[in-house]
């Protein structure tokens, strides 16, 4: 029973996400803007709607960065450890994802949003748990949704920013949630 619990419990992936936010995006929350992004469309914040008809004074740029870290236990330690056959961890894998959305006017960032996800999995002799592919996808979707929630909270300000003329700097401020220096 113990080995069963250890063997299968060890394969679970733990997730941390920052900033911590409650709530989800509302259905009618959409932000129309010209968006610069060349990655998989699945990972673009869902509230962003690519719209070439709106003012081009402010463009949005979305980027993400994925980092991997595999930390297997030393082979000898794993081999001589009698608990290995009961599902004792053989190593840990980490993946960290940082997403950022910038509002750019005249080559200067006037507002930015960010989110980061960290995922950790533990492998055993019985299984490796989620693959890096699964962890990456899960993390990118969490980051995407987190930034979407932040955008929806600020949509009034953002509507003003996106509709503002290049000379109007009244709405150029850092967001209180997920803001990056």
């Amino acid at each position: 029973m113990l080995s069963f619990a250890l063997g299968f419990g060890g394969c679970a992936t733990s997730v941390t996400l920052t900033p911590r936010l409650s709530g989800t995006t509302s259905r009618n929350c959409e932000i129309h803007a010209p968006v610069r992004y060349d990655g998989n469309p699945d990972y673009l914040p869902t509230v962003l709607v690519q719209d070439a008809n709106v003012s081009q004074a402010v463009t949005l740029r979305y980027r993400y960065d994925v980092n991997y870290d595999a930390q297997p236990l030393p082979d000898v330690a794993t081999m001589v450890n009698p608990l290995t056959i009961f599902g004792f961890p053989t190593g840990h894998d980490y993946i960290s994802i940082v997403g950022s959305l910038e509002f750019i006017r005249a080559d200067a960032t006037v507002r930015s949003y960010g989110a980061a996800a960290g995922l950790k999995r533990t492998g055993t002799v019985f299984g490796e748990g989620d693959s890096f592919t699964d962890m990456r996808r899960r993390g990118l979707l969490l980051v995407r949704d987190n930034i979407s929630v932040q955008l929806c909270r600020d949509r009034t300000v953002l509507a003003r920013l996106l509709g503002a003329s290049p000379d109007d700097d009244s709405s150029s401020q850092q967001t209180p949630t997920g803001a990056r220096p």
């Binding site: 297997p72 490796e128 693959s131 890096f132």
Partner: protein, 159 residues
């Protein structure tokens, strides 16, 4: 009582078996001089190690087999831009997705972890600085396809 002595034939056969793993690999690592500019270059390698050294596995790109990765070997793969999932399987499956950009170089490191009946394959994307150092001791897998004329994840969605 008759003492069984290993004959010359047995000794030769054993030597052949031991050395056969090394004989299948090609020349030592040499970085590509002129990779195609419209594709990304992915080096897939595995450091030479005693433990798990007998285990080898086939690496796939978006489900298509590329080459068998054994201890101390590497091969190069030119991929069209887009997400490419590199995977391998023994009794457990591993995969890592690389968002390939044209003109960029990536290093996917393979290894073997402990399993119940056979070692588990492990693939991870490492930083260029790490990959450049570790791949130096590896030898080329002969006959590995290097052209990236396979479908990307985005292509598969469209079809």
């Amino acid at each position: 009582m008759k003492i069984i002595r290993p004959s010359a034939f047995t000794a030769l056969a054993l030597t052949g078996l031991v050395l056969s793993g090394c004989a299948t690999l090609g020349p030592a690592f040499k970085p590509e001089q002129s990779p195609p500019g419209d594709k990304g270059t992915v080096y897939i390698y595995r450091e030479s190690k005693m433990i798990g050294g007998a285990v080898s596995y086939t690496v796939h790109a978006n489900g298509m087999p590329l080459a068998k990765l054994s201890s101390g070997s590497y091969f190069v793969y030119h991929s069209a831009p887009g997400e490419v999932e590199f995977s391998a399987q023994t009794e457990a499956k591993t995969s890592v997705t690389v968002d390939v950009k044209a003109g960029e170089v990536y290093y996917v490191k393979g290894s073997v972890g402990m399993g119940v009946f056979v070692g588990h394959p492990h693939l991870v994307l490492v930083a260029s600085g790490v990959g450049e150092k570790e791949i130096v001791e590896c030898k080329l897998v002969p006959g590995a396809p290097s052209d990236g004329a396979i479908v990307t994840a985005a292509d598969r969605k469209q079809n």
